[in-house]
């Protein structure tokens, strides 16, 4: 039981830290494309780490099945929605910042 609790601690705190890192990237990066790259962290790895930590606390049962359904759905849907978002942004003509011009027009 101690070992399960230790794994659960590690997964929950690690997932929360990954979420904070993704939020920092969402706040600090210069471009909508790079910001989506940062938000992909807490769509996939951060949420899976937190859900796995919760699964270890729940044990075998219906709760774990529900958590696995949430995780599966988020793993399927997060990349799809960020792909659609960035495709729409590119089609609207949002410019990709390259390294050459990042000193020219940083907002």
């Amino acid at each position: 039981m101690m070992i399960v609790d230790a794994f659960s601690w590690a997964l929950l705190v690690g997932g929360a830290l990954l979420c904070v890192v993704g939020g920092l990237g969402l706040l600090r990066l210069p471009d909508v494309y790079t910001r989506a790259h940062a938000a992909g962290i807490n769509d996939t790895l951060g949420s899976w780490a937190i859900l796995l930590g919760l699964m270890l606390q729940a044990g075998l049962g219906l709760v774990t099945v529900k958590l696995a359904m949430i995780g599966l759905f988020m793993a399927l849907v997060g990349p799809v929605s960020s792909h659609a978002l960035l495709k729409a942004a590119y089609a609207h003509g949002v410019r990709v910042q390259s390294n050459d011009e990042e000193t020219a027009d940083v907002d």
């Binding site: 609790d5 659960s8 601690w9 929950l12 705190v13 997932g15 929360a16 830290l17 979420c19 904070v20 993704g22 939020g23 920092l24 969402l26 706040l27 909508v32 910001r35 989506a36 938000a39 807490n42 769509d43 951060g46 949420s47 937190i50 859900l51 930590g53 919760l54 606390q57 729940a58 709760v63 529900k66 958590l67 359904m69 949430i70 759905f73 988020m74 849907v77 997060g78 799809v80 929605s81 960020s82 659609a84 978002l85 960035l86 729409a88 942004a89 089609a91 609207h92 949002v94 907002d107």
Partner: protein, 93 residues
């Protein structure tokens, strides 16, 4: 205790996504912030259910994940085409 730590991290992330949604220069930044906010809300509901000892809230988290995806796609389609339900087959992608 571990649930409290995870809740604090999720809430900090939600605050940062909120700031990005308020600041964001283009509309796509705002949509991205709303999407990240929805993901964090799903996690928040799931962890808060365990935190308060009632894991039945997971149904709400599952429904919120579905609503978040459909909402993001709907808003994207609106910003792309200016309407939700027209015939888009003639629009050049």
């Amino acid at each position: 205790m571990m649930f409290t730590a995870a809740l604090i991290g999720i809430l900090i992330t939600m605050c940062m996504a909120l700031v990005r949604g308020a600041l964001g220069p283009t509309v796509f930044d705002r949509i991205l912030a709303v999407n990240a906010m929805g993901t964090q809300t799903v996690l928040l509901i799931a962890v808060a259910g365990f935190w308060s000892g009632r894991p039945e809230w997971l149904d709400l988290a599952l429904v919120y994940a579905l609503v978040n995806f459909v909402g993001t796609i709907a808003v994207l389609k609106y910003t792309r085409f200016g309407s939700l339900a027209e015939d888009h087959t003639r629009v050049q992608p």
